[in-house]
Symmetry: C2
Subunit: 418 residues, 2 copies
């Protein structure tokens, strides 16, 4: 077991800087050996706050290979834009570095298959840092599901319901005329480009790749007018941004079916005005339900009109990880889940184990964008979901080698709900 984990950090955009600054920099068992970005200014900004924390000055490079080939780096965190992430991740794994990538989607299924091959050939873990898996609500529900309190699971929902036109896609457009890299994705593609909030947590509720798997996917896209309408109103009808017919449907609903019969519905909802308050995470079973929208956990026998009882539920069913972190004081970044997902990765590096979100999970989630695009292109046809485990899903054991594990039954309050 390592006492210190030496990391290299590739990609210092808004998310990269934020993850570095609000998480890794405070980890006493992590040394930030090297940072990489194409912008020297961003690297200098990162360098400043790293040094202000009293840490050694990291090596700075515009060439990510300097990080991947660095002899003393144990683990590489890849926070660049969506394109190239799988490719760079595979290079990192082949160089023997534990590899973490930010949330996003692949361009092709080939990348996903190659990522899995790389893992199987090298034995080096790769983990998508899907922070919602470590959300307090998500972990409480996972806890209750694994204890059988929801009975047999039937259906789950979740989605990314965040209006991005102003806060991301066209952020800084007046300042430096360079739209966010995601705008090109919205211009050229039509798919669910951001499914893992909540497909990540749902995958763990449903034991995907460990006793279950996704077998098919069907996506429905709405009209695609939100971005262009925004651009007309904000930049003028004659602006270059207003003249583009952005391909991305404003609302995409994606249905997945599982080998064990469960169904999932995931929604992308990012280009029409909306309040931002929920990922619409819900789990439905024969004995109970949870729904984020009304902050309710309901089990048969409760009053029908109940809502907003999450607080009492957290009291009883909080995941031990969250109890521990509440006791220590919740870390910044999305309510503690950023801290926890980063710790989950670091602990795996320290202990030399697999990561709780592993290569098969990562490939599965990276594939959703491609599959949903295929479905939509074919008029909402149902597409087969690849089995990235090549049959192993039927027999893979729950990963229990860590308090950050997302598969195990956690002993909690044993008294029944009534």
């Amino acid at each position: 077991m390592k006492s210190m984990v030496k990391i290299g950090f590739i990609g210092l955009g808004r998310r990269g800087i934020s993850v570095l600054r609000q998480n890794f920099i405070d980890m006493k068992d992590v040394e930030i050996v090297a940072i990489c970005d194409q912008s020297v200014a961003r690297m200098e900004e990162a360098c400043n706050f790293i040094c202000e924390k009293g840490r050694p000055t990291p090596m700075m490079t515009t060439n990510y290979r300097d990080i991947i080939q660095h002899p003393s780096i144990d683990a590489v965190i890849i926070m660049i834009g969506w394109k190239n992430r799988p490719r760079i991740a595979m290079e990192s794994m082949r160089a023997g570095k534990y590899t973490a990538i930010e949330v996003g989607c692949a361009d092709t299924l080939q990348e996903c298959y190659d990522l899995v091959s790389t893992y199987e050939e090298t034995g080096i873990p790769v983990m998508m840092l899907e922070n919602c898996c470590y959300g307090r609500r998500e972990m409480m529900v996972l806890n209750m599901v694994k204890q059988g309190l929801f009975g047999e699971i039937v259906h789950c929902t979740g989605g990314y319901h965040h209006y991005l036109n102003e806060v991301e896609l066209f952020l800084n457009i007046d300042k430096d005329e360079i739209p966010h890299y995601r705008l090109a994705e919205y211009r050229d593609k039509n798919c669910d480009n951001y499914p893992t909030h909540e497909l990540g947590p749902i995958s763990k509720v449903l034991s995907i790749n460990r006793g279950n798997r996704f077998v098919s996917l069907t996506s429905f896209g709405s009209k695609h007018i939100g971005i262009q309408d925004f651009a007309k109103r904000h930049f003028g009808e004659d602006s270059k941004y207003a003249k583009i017919d952005y391909q991305q449907s404003d609302i995409v609903n994606t249905h997945l079916r599982c080998a064990n019969g469960e169904t999932v519905m995931i929604t992308l909802d990012t280009t029409l005005p909306r309040a931002y308050y929920s990922r619409n995470f819900s789990v439905r079973g024969t004995k109970g339900m949870s729904s984020e929208e009304r902050r309710v956990v309901y089990c048969e026998g409760m009053q029908e009109e109940i809502e907003n009882n999450e607080t009492e539920m957290f009291e009883r069913y909080d995941h031990p990880l969250h109890r521990e972190y509440a006791a220590q004081g919740v870390k910044e970044g999305h309510g503690g889940m950023d801290w926890l997902v980063c710790r989950a990765f670091i602990e795996a590096v320290k202990n030399g184990t697999n990561t709780p979100i592993d290569a098969y999970d990562t490939a599965t989630w990276l594939a959703i964008g491609v599959l949903s695009a295929q479905s939509i292109q074919g008029g909402s046809v149902t597409v087969e979901f690849p089995d990235f485990t090549n049959g192993k899903w039927q027999n893979r054991e729950p990963f229990v080698n860590s308090k950050y594990c997302l598969d195990a039954i956690i002993e909690n309050d044993p008294t029944p709900l009534f």
Copy 2:
């Protein structure tokens, strides 16, 4: 214009009794001339409370044709179970009686086409009493949509999210061993059998059959285990109810596409334990959103984290009908909407006009069950949606001949939201 509307009432089950007792019986311009049910006991119960209100004793009959052929009856209210409703409605229309039917679905598309033919041949209106069209929230949102405050509409949602196993399907099972008629539907069919909460209100938001129409439908069904699991746990593994493999999926999500490009998602969710608090009514447009789940109406420019602002929104955008009824004191039955939908029907009879929910609406909504069954049976294939207006939808004007109209722009607070 009539001063008194003489009605005949067919069907005195729980819903029928409730609608009669909490609505029609208090209408000073309505005379309940005749009632019909196969149960003499139920008719006597109804007769009692009618007389207790000081009203003349109605004629009682076990033969619905006595009502349909009754020379002085103006309008017939049909509250029997789902089957036979369209057939009896057509008989009533051919007898020259304005006809109202409860919420539900048809068995065949033929019934829906025949209902429309009957209307076109006789000129006699038929109206599904879809009370949610007159819900306070639904009418406020309709009001805001028609004023253009949501911009161009993109997507709507809604659903029937009510756990029925105990409160309906197996109600009274211990007492008299006769399950609710709906249980047979759940046993034998798999479809969205109850779509009009909220497809009714959504149809009016989207001007369906008056400038727009549904063009296709695709339904996704989940596992179907909820009823059988309930039966096992409540009646024992060896009970007759526990041995049935009920065909109805626990969760059905149905996607509809409109001629003008809008999409709709309707959910049926009635056989897994859940709290009952919402019909998940939401409307999304280029300028704003409404969502029942978080009681929010959001327009671009508001704070991102806003929720629970419905009360202020009602202040500004309450539909005049609801302002009027709040002033008069809200009537019983689902928060006033039962009263309003019944008044909408009666006013049409009095004034000799079409009904605000008309034959084309009724046929469209009755068809959803059949179409969703076809889709599910075909593995979630997309099915074409019939055009019951036979092309007239493109040119039909909004129905504005009534304060109960659901098509018109209502002048309200003209000052902008900010």
